[in-house]
Amino acid sequence: MIEVRHLEKTFPGTRGLLGHDAIKAVNDVSFHIPDGGAVSFIGESGCGKTTIGRILAGLETYTAGEVVMDGQNLAQLPRRQRAVLLRRVQLIQQDPYQALNPARTIEQALTDPLKVIAKERGADKAWIMHRLHEVLELVGLDPDAVIYKYPHMLSGGQRQRIVIARALTVDPSVLVADEAVSMIDVSLRLGVLKLLRDLRERFKISVLFITHDVASARYVGDDGQMFVIYKGRIVEHGLTDEVILHPQHPYTQALLSAVPVLKGLEEPGPDRYIPLKEFGHGQPPEHACAFAPRCPYAQPLCGQEKPELVGTAHQYACHYPKERHVVAVPLSE
């Protein structure tokens, strides 16, 4: 189990001609991931969701807050122990084309981490081969068909499965999937999403799913928690289906509106709203709602006072929360 409390990450500013101010990429973010649970972070490019994933995977430091893994506070652990603990968190990145060395076969790519583990456990070569076949079968690939291939001989979906198989070699308890399907053909995405769900259910591996596509988050865990992030802050969170079916924050509603409407099968929700204004750069003012400049429902108050998260199980940070019907409605035949 991972518990994150009031996490904060500030990237320092730079001076000079092209300098910029310090940027708070993550601001007061708290959540926990139960064993085998699913948590998804939704937001636009640049909202800070990737930084959260990288912090959990140990690739980024944080400036304030606590990350507690299995009862141990990461910041208080000696380096060695922290590294051992963090090995159980594996990051799956967006681009499977870059994550694999093009000059090495799948067998070579997967046996490297297995050799390290075999050494620690005193296991032999036969164990490595056995485990290699096992992880490939777990991700739905035929080991004999892929083992001697190079990454360029596989499709995007197969490559991402290899990346997941490699992450599984070290028996992780958490997978951080950062836009793990956005480089894959849409026709093959569901296969990878269902694989992640399967790993949760069979091996109690928790999944932190980071994406800009709300629809794909459902397939990893409609039973999980969904966090909507805007400019480093949580603006709405709750059970995934609850947030999708009863969105209260206008930003969540914009994200849901962005899901394409399938002509001939659906019609747009009556309140569908797509902001044409771009996500502005720079730090939002401390005493205003960060989304106000793009919000179609903004009132004077929104520019004067920052809304706090309210609600119980389903929380949202908006001065004027209101459920709106933005999701496409299926046409009845």
Partner: protein, 333 residues
Amino acid sequence: MSANSLPTAPPAAGITIRGLEVVYTTGQGQIPAVNGINLDIVGGQITGIIGESGSGKSTLAMAMMNAVPHPGKIVKGSVIIDGVGNMMTLDKESQRRARGRHVGFVFQAAQNSLNPLTRIGHQVLDLGRSHNVKDLRALLRRAKELLERMGMDADRVLTSYQHELSGGMRQRVGIMFALVLDAQIVILDEPTTALDMLSQASVLEIVRSIQEERGLTIILITHDMGVVADLADRVIVMYGGELAEEGKTEDVLAHPQHPYTRGLIRAIPRISGNLDQAVALAGSPPDLQTFVQNACLFYDRCPERMAQCQNHRPPYEIAGPGRKVACFKVMAK
């Protein structure tokens, strides 16, 4: 004034493609990436061409402008653009003029088609000079109008370098370049693939409204059935360098006939409804073997294949008003 003395708007330009064949010469032999395609692109509409990686959809788009990159080669066929002529037989200079003036092209990653070393405004002027535009001020004014039309601060964009713009903004700049010389036909090659959902939705919204305003002919190339279903008037499904199905978007979505089209629609991650309804397409996109086999291109992945399908390719035939499909099973019905 009587109704028939009103000037009638000239019908928007369409494209007629006959027997088009593009071959890539590789170490393993000749690969027909576009294999004898006959296609009519209707003027004044949005036509979506959908296919997975390796389906030949981008090659088809480049072939429409007679600009297939090496080692590809157009070996047969004609592409007749209304008001321009046959792109295959025109002299080089007329072809060059047609690109940009008659046919605008927006590439997948706009940053790859923008010059990183000069400001956007300068590139507009360069474009004007290379097409002998006399009134460059008017050209800049049009560029400004278009950018503002797309919800951007035009003065800022024109004085920016491409790295100073976000992905969504760069894609809009790409659309501006395609339209600034008043092209009536615009080809968009994967215009939203690198964007997050909100930017994607706003770019699609812009394309939709500009198309309506100007009655443009738009060809949208993508692997995302959702994008086509949301935006296009007509859908053309491509597989392994050949056409599998086409028709009005509503018809194709509600009543897909080709098993491949059905699979593509079922594979769209959905925001509502039963999770188990959506299934990834089985198998892998076509490889080199697929292109040269005698069987139907989709044979290996088809859940409904018959004995007949193994030895012959199905012809592409009319299957209802405005519908065409290449499938023995559909024809047998």
